[in-house]
Symmetry: C2
Subunit: 338 residues, 2 copies
């Protein structure tokens, strides 16, 4: 067995996202330096808290998309690095506020910033990072970029408020859920890609193509994230499962299982997701009902639909290693372990 | 008596701030329309919550300063109206987040937005208003304005975090307190005034003059606000007194009373402000100690110092009704009922 697993270690260890990241690795190192430099403040708690969440890591998916999009557009300057840092600042600010709003204690398996530093500091440092993002955009000096990212920020907030309005409502429609995830997740993916074309001075058609790629990739990403929260395989891998269930967060797997369920099942969903009356075994029952109605499988199918649109969006770009990597990331996002 | 009070109703009913507001009243009506129009969103909770806090009113002091500053610079266009709306959006966003951070139930005697709509919605709608402010600045299209207001927003957040760091620390120095209020209050006053010169295309010296006017007016304003929170006269007028005391918020009256007090008095301040162990009569004792050490009187004296700087900052502008009104507002801010 040891021989077999060693035969092709690359196959086992790198993902298409790693490959895409490798293509922009020099730029990404520069972005990480920019992030560290610009989250500095004489008020110590700011770099402390921001450093905590930035170091906690994540995949830097959004800045990688900005760098890759600029690369796809043949950009040869350095402004895309600052824009990638800006995108990560906006993302980090929304994470900080999300965790306060969701009352989360954990993020990526670590104590969340609000759990360590308190809600107050998380709100204010989020505001700081958000303001700093705009300061950095002004340094780059493109009103088009400012327009795209200020619009994206407003749309993200709208998506989050919409999620608050629909929270714990089992009758949420698939369309309403889609509006939520377009705002809270996909819009920043879309804007991150679009500014890559803007910084390269490419024509509107390429801007739109990259926006559409990011938007549909972002929708697929969030759909699969929502599946993973109920995935038996995730549980086997030791990852947290059931966070959305415990919060009564209405995601597409719940929307589908509720709509396809009988009266008794709907009563279960109302009790657990609306009234948040949950007992031992309820998460397992939820997973069972989702399996019965193919709710997870069909959510992944929906993700494939958006993935296909993302794929076609890149059609007008010539073949290139970065394009191939961006296409492979679509499938990777959809076929993550679930 | 009735005859006497009726002799000069204007004298009794209008303040210098009313007079300044009257000078820009047409513009201010337009600003109010812009505010209502641009806080619109298809996500209903956003205009509901934003409308609640915007309608709750306040004096629109900051937008009035933008309009007056543009007027002082002889501006004849309409972009100052949008910038005044932007300034009010940023102010409103920080109020929403402040109330969450301070866990306030009341604002200006009414239930605060977070008390009515919840902390979550307040955080997210604050984010929305903040993003919308940047969208509107992009519409105006001045990178200088964007630079000033993105910087101001970051400084505000720094001031708020600094306040969090020094909260409940009775050994806070006057200098540290000053840094807090410069950030959390005075920077937006300063930026609001400065963009009036920028939109009018005036030379740097006038920009700086208006920035200094706003900065020092803002410091004086906050100092007097902090005095009013302990003022016996405020209590007689039926206004809330003692909010800062109950929160253990360290303001200059406390800093001075603590430094000028004996060991037994310092123990009192530590118990009430650091440990937040407060009993009936403690607020009265705090007021008594402040009176013994002239802490309120001297805080007002400090405010006069900053007011004097604000006055001289306007020296290079020619005499005009709007200039006179801006100068009178300084004294008014300092001599509000305390």
């Amino acid at each position: 067995m040891a021989v077999v697993t060693n035969l092709d270690p690359k196959r086992r260890k790198t993902t298409p996202l790693d490959d895409l990241t490798a293509l922009v690795s020099d730029d990404l190192s520069a972005v990480n330096e920019l992030i560290l430099r610009h989250m500095h403040s004489p008020v110590e708690l700011i770099p402390q808290l921001a450093g905590y969440i930035v170091a906690a890591g994540g995949k830097r998916l959004r800045p990688v998309l900005t760098l890759a999009s600029a690369g796809l557009c043949g950009y040869r300057g350095e402004n895309h690095r600052m824009l990638a840092a800006v995108v990560e600042f906006i993302h980090t600010a929304t994470l900080l506020h999300d965790d306060v709003v969701d009352e989360s204690d954990l993020r990526r398996g670590l104590a969340s910033a609000n759990a360590v530093f308190g809600n107050k500091a998380s709100v204010l440092v989020g505001d700081f990072l958000f303001s700093r993002a705009f300061e950095l955009m002004v340094e780059v000096g493109s009103l088009d970029v400012l327009r795209i990212l200020s619009r994206a920020s407003a749309v993200i907030a709208e998506g989050e408020v919409l999620q608050l309005q629909t929270s714990n409502d089992t009758e949420t429609s698939e369309q309403a859920y889609l509006e939520v995830i377009k705002g809270k997740t996909a819009e920043l993916f879309a804007a991150a890609c679009r500014v890559g074309a803007v910084v390269a001075g490419r024509p509107p058609a390429e801007e739109v193509a990259l926006y559409d790629y990011g938007m549909n990739l972002g929708i697929a990403f969030q759909l699969v994230d929502d599946v993973l929260d109920y995935s038996a395989k995730q549980a086997k891998l030791g990852k947290t499962v059931g966070d959305d269930f415990r919060e009564g967060k209405i995601t597409l797997p719940v929307v589908l299982a509720f709509r396809r369920g009988n009266d008794e099942e709907r009563a279960f969903w109302r009790r657990t997701m609306e009234d948040l009356e949950q007992a031992d075994g309820d998460l397992e029952r939820a997973q069972h009902l989702m399996a019965r109605h193919d709710a997870l499988r069909d959510t992944v199918e929906r993700a494939r639909h958006y993935g296909a649109i993302a794929r076609d969006a890149l059609g007008l770009f010539a073949d290139a290693p970065v394009k191939r990597a961006m296409l492979e990331v679509i499938d990777f996002v959809i076929d993550r372990d679930y």
